[in-house]
Symmetry: D3
Subunit: 300 residues, 6 copies
């Protein structure tokens, strides 16, 4: 009774107060909002269904149906994505009259690259198969490996990032992060045959460049050392802050490699929990020279 009275009399004021705080802080009409986020998730779903028919949707056996469904998914998502790109470009300050054409071109380029992306993802599947002794069949990789979840989204998001699309690639990568615990910034460049084992807690920064045949374990950070501030004390955006990893490198669990000048030479192995802020030459083996832990007498 008393609660209801309060709800009827006071809630309108609180609602108005929240609305007013929002209006002063946050230009909600300029964002893509919840609807845009949902739309991006749906587009990703359709794109991955097109790349791997049968893995993200109950696809029919009939090849004709698969073909038509891939086509339909790509067409619908292309138009939805174009609209979103126009919106985020506008919010980003692009007022050019050719913004529709620009967005269309981005979409065309992205979809044109899908056969290439699919071929690259095939190398990632092979890397997972070869890299994990627990795998008994290639089929289970697509159905149960977080690596392929995260990397398939990354390879799409990265294409958009490279073409200058704001915000959308980040929403895609954060979606992968939420699904897998693997946080790959869409800016990172990643070669073929890439595999992340277990994956939880992996962070790969925006300006990383990763070669071919690289394998990474859970909890690895490829991050920034610290970032330069401008005269106002704000971080300077857009400079190289994250390491390069050359071909055939393995990085074990929990290793941390930081800095834009840090290059891990090809065919190196970085041990678990290693903390590296400087480059190492090719063929390096970086082991933990940690002092033996103190082991108190086992007799209790």
């Amino acid at each position: 009774m008393k609660l209801n009275e309060w709800l009827n009399s006071e809630i309108p004021h609180i609602a108005e107060s929240l609305e007013s705080i929002n209006k002063s802080n946050f230009f909600i009409d300029k964002t893509i909002g919840f609807a845009g986020k949902e739309s991006i998730y749906k587009i990703l779903h359709h794109f991955r269904s097109a790349l791997f028919p049968g893995v993200y949707d109950k696809y029919p056996i009939d090849e004709n149906k698969v073909n038509i469904m891939i086509g339909n998914n790509l067409r619908t998502s292309a138009l939805d994505l174009k609209d979103l790109i126009v919106k985020v470009l506008k919010n980003d300050g692009d007022n050019s009259s050719s913004i529709e054409d620009k967005a269309s071109e981005i979409v065309v380029n992205l979809i044109n690259s899908f056969p290439e992306i699919r071929n690259t993802l095939q190398t990632d599947i092979e890397a997972a198969y070869n890299g994990d002794p627990a795998t008994l069949s290639t089929e289970e990789i697509l159905l149960s490996y977080p690596s392929i979840e995260a990397v398939s989204i990354h390879r799409i998001a990265h294409k958009l990032y490279v073409m200058g699309v704001p915000m959308i690639p980040r929403i895609m990568s954060e979606y992968a992060h939420q699904l897998t615990g693997i946080d790959i910034h869409p800016g990172a460049t990643i070669g073929d045959y890439f595999f992340i084992d277990h994956g939880t807690g992996v962070v790969i920064g925006e300006t990383c460049q990763i070669g071919n045949h690289v394998k990474i374990y859970q909890g690895v950070t490829l991050g920034a050392k610290s970032f330069s501030l401008d005269e106002n004390g704000n971080p300077i955006k857009g400079i190289k802050r994250h390491p390069n990893i050359e071909d055939n490198v393995v990085i074990y669990a929990g290793a941390t490699i930081l800095g834009g000048d840090t290059f891990i030479g090809h065919d190196s192995i970085i041990g678990g929990n290693i903390w590296l802020t400087e480059s190492v030459p090719p063929y390096s083996r970086v082991y933990h020279s940690q002092p033996s832990p103190t082991i108190k007498n086992g007799n209790g």
Copy 2:
């Protein structure tokens, strides 16, 4: 055929057996169960929709509709939450006749604090914007940052925790944990302008106190050293077990800070993978003085 016979003849016994184990071990009728959990998730959704219209629901442009929807969401959730609080208080042994009034008062206090919570969350958004060089617009923080996901839930759950509500705040924080990999106990006190980058694996303990302008990276633990046992060997509940972090502190990835007496003085920087069980004074820079890792000759 044979399987069906077995299913028809034996399953009833197994069902009975499972039911009987459950009855002896678990007082399911005293819990809020699956329905309660679902209800808490829905309440959280409505509350966050009220705090950030357009981010958690497809809100209309029309301001009048936004206003009415915030109000409706708050009213419905208020009553649902009140019922749940009454239930968990009763399960917790509260048999007072004023339990309905108590629960109502908690709900009123919580919702009254929403404008304040919203203002605080705005400082968290600003901290994220300033703290991450990869962010290009404030808009993308609300749509794609796990930090704001986890912290917005925490600030609601913490209010309930402080008012003595059992179980519900923990279900809320575990929901955030599941979404983001960030595990903040609802008991933790957290100041303004708080930002967690990447976030996976962060653990913040129940009795932590965190000041303003604190920034934390993935894999940081603010935990207990060990916990005191009572005469029966059970952990003593309710004593301060986790560190305090003062204003303007940065804690890099994988650092572990333990113990209820451990204070990190203001304006300190704690390096990555640091293991700290003792206090440090203000303005400290705690670096990893780990021995250089062994790097075997790169010529392989």
Copy 3:
């Protein structure tokens, strides 16, 4: 306009190209696909609903209904699981005529073990209650602890693994991984009273053997040191690669224990962030003898 023209004229070719890449790389008709994955998730849901009525579904108070619902869930899931097992055994190369009987027997064995699994899970709940000072009631463990989420799935998946079912247990364990950030290979053997606190980033390898009353914190890896390659440079599958943890061991956050010959003796405590690749005797206390971190003068 131009985009639509492109969509109508070019998408059919891209769809055909993607279809053709898929056909050459991936024998989609031999997998269980998306539909199988969904089915496994549904089976897991029904099984856990049978083990803990009221926790995974809105179960009615009426005991008769609970009883019938458990039975119905088990019967439906039994047949669905049998079909899936037949399919994965066939994909795995089993062409024996008794494959249906074999799959039925596996299902019968699994469900027959449910009362035992339920009893074991009860010890896990008790371990969680005793092991976490922040828990105030046993009820909240089932509703909000990632440990019980992951371990309840593991105990089911492990039974299937032991009976030689391919792929399905891995899809189950990866589902748990996605929900909780805890990655337990279904091959791992785990005793009673097992508890993982917080859990994000925990990795437990395929050939681990874990005793009773073991407690593990977030970020712990029980992994392989490296794996032996066969003459072709491929990892040799099926040999013991992961450590054994005896009874009453506690392993703190971020510790890494590697190798198939590494045995952690009973009643030992392994400190946080410890890196261990060799056995320790019973009653060991393995502390971090790390050098004090460099703490620069706090006067900034």
Copy 4:
């Protein structure tokens, strides 16, 4: 703006007013309400799925699965129906201690009669096949004939009616009415080989008795002439008010047959639009002796 103000200030009063009218007029807590109605629809669905596997649900080809699914559907629906019966009996004034047993017995009797009901429905399908020159296969009857929709529901509802269950049979028959435009009161007794062609507008009253091999067309009413009033002017409930139709009768579209004493003798044919309030002997042919309609000269 002004509308919002009104909504916030006035709606609480209108809500209170509506609530108060409801409370004084309608004992909502004594009914089964919307939830009960939904439950009855679901029970009907499960029952009809059990009677005709594959027609009301996507049933699997596998016979074992069909068998288990029928069983599960019957078990679940049995308990739901028992609860509803207890509720409506109580609302109807039954306060006996054996009400649970009574409801259980009704459910057992109903389900025990399902093989018999299924056999009878098979005669209805045959009647439809033989009675409609437009039918080319028996299969299309189950998938597209309103007659079988309505009659399959009636045969279930009638069993409940006969056993004295209030309200539930009426909700079932009104559900059929809504689906098909055929309104058969659950009290009506209907023999084998019954077929209604087209069906829209057919009304069959509570105390009708219909023999075997009867065929009825759209718009036929088997109704009451008028009903006797008691001393207070209220209709006397529970007396025979509707006609009997003996075996092998055909009644064409729009015919109206009224009265509890009106018997249509076996093997009769009642013409379209006929209005009959008196009995006719067996083998009657009742034609429309209506005067020729006036046909004005066709030259306009």
Copy 5:
């Protein structure tokens, strides 16, 4: 294969052709479309839930919740309805600047009349109870009588019609028609204590006026005789074309009463299948003086 080629090459042209036909024939951008129709259905649902809590939604027992839910439903629907009214008024040619105010006023008037509508509907429930010997309780009327379905929608739609709202009332009444087979034009004026038994096929025209305590059976038409054409041969809209039915009249199944000048005097009874195009005085009994049907000898 060949079909797919055709689908890829020809469908774009057919799609373009359909789009172009639509554009030339139908100003889809000027209508409320599918979204508007869905919205009207939802508004009706909320309004009827507010009038009869527990009948159209799973309402909680708790009176406070009922109260808040009624309020929330009315507020949300008020704003949705206002938007729709603005849209249909504009489509109807209203370009006044005060169109928002006008729509708001209509909504306020409608909702203000809800207590009155609820009271009137209570008289309809009583009429159904008294008028149908097959009814055993008032509760079953709300759950299973098409009359109350159709009339509750009519009384809402009629209020909107009277206030000059185009299209929306018609969509409401056609929704009722689809649910029940009862087609009441929203323009019809209907008094208290109104009951339609069975109802299928009833048609009540736009300019009918029906008094209190009127009872109608299935298949009754209260229609227009013919309608006057203007000089262009088009029907003249907006003149009285349908009969008046005074208080206490009963009209039996299939009767047809036509014409705007046809008045059925109070306390009359119109027999089944009667065809009336002229007025009858109060207390009339209009029976079917049809010649006895030809009954051929029953000996077959």
Copy 6:
């Protein structure tokens, strides 16, 4: 308790019994079943969405999207429909090797006729607008007239019927019947500018031929007089049994016109409730020359 025992012990037998009755009576594996019915409903939805964008789906304003969506809907539905046609042709005994080609050709022909069907439906909309004085705008016809619901489905179903597709057209027409109460057999041939007012109870038989500009009211039957039986007493299928209605005819409510030789000449008007089994020449006016009903003195 006792009920549960019965459910566990007896339900398996009843399930087996029902399964066995079904197997002996009904070749469920030869039908399209529930799944096929659902698929037909979905195809109809997509087809009507293609014919009237915005009326059956929330279509976007953007013309490019409308175009792509129409195309996608047609492509998907084309393949689904082809599969269903193959199935029903096979069930119907067609074992030719070219059955896939035949089904494809049917689908291509159907979709090729969509622009023509759309144009014809436009004439139906115009007929509705001109024929109903209560209509105030053409827009409301598509959103609220049962005539256009039923006729739009009929025009699609009829095309399939003409091409010899079994069962599917009947399921379509019965779907329309359920939605509207209008039962048009897919075999009926119907000209342009066709309008059915109110519609409930209308039945139009398989071999009817209806000209242009025909208008029909509720409850009209265009049926068979009786049907010829073959030597076994079964109805002879496939002969003309229903009347022809020439151009510009109006048939008022409840009229019944029967027989394959009955021709209603052009520009005729058939009065309400008329019963006609013989042809009438052009320009006829067929009025009800029924004797005045007996009207008993109005003084009661």
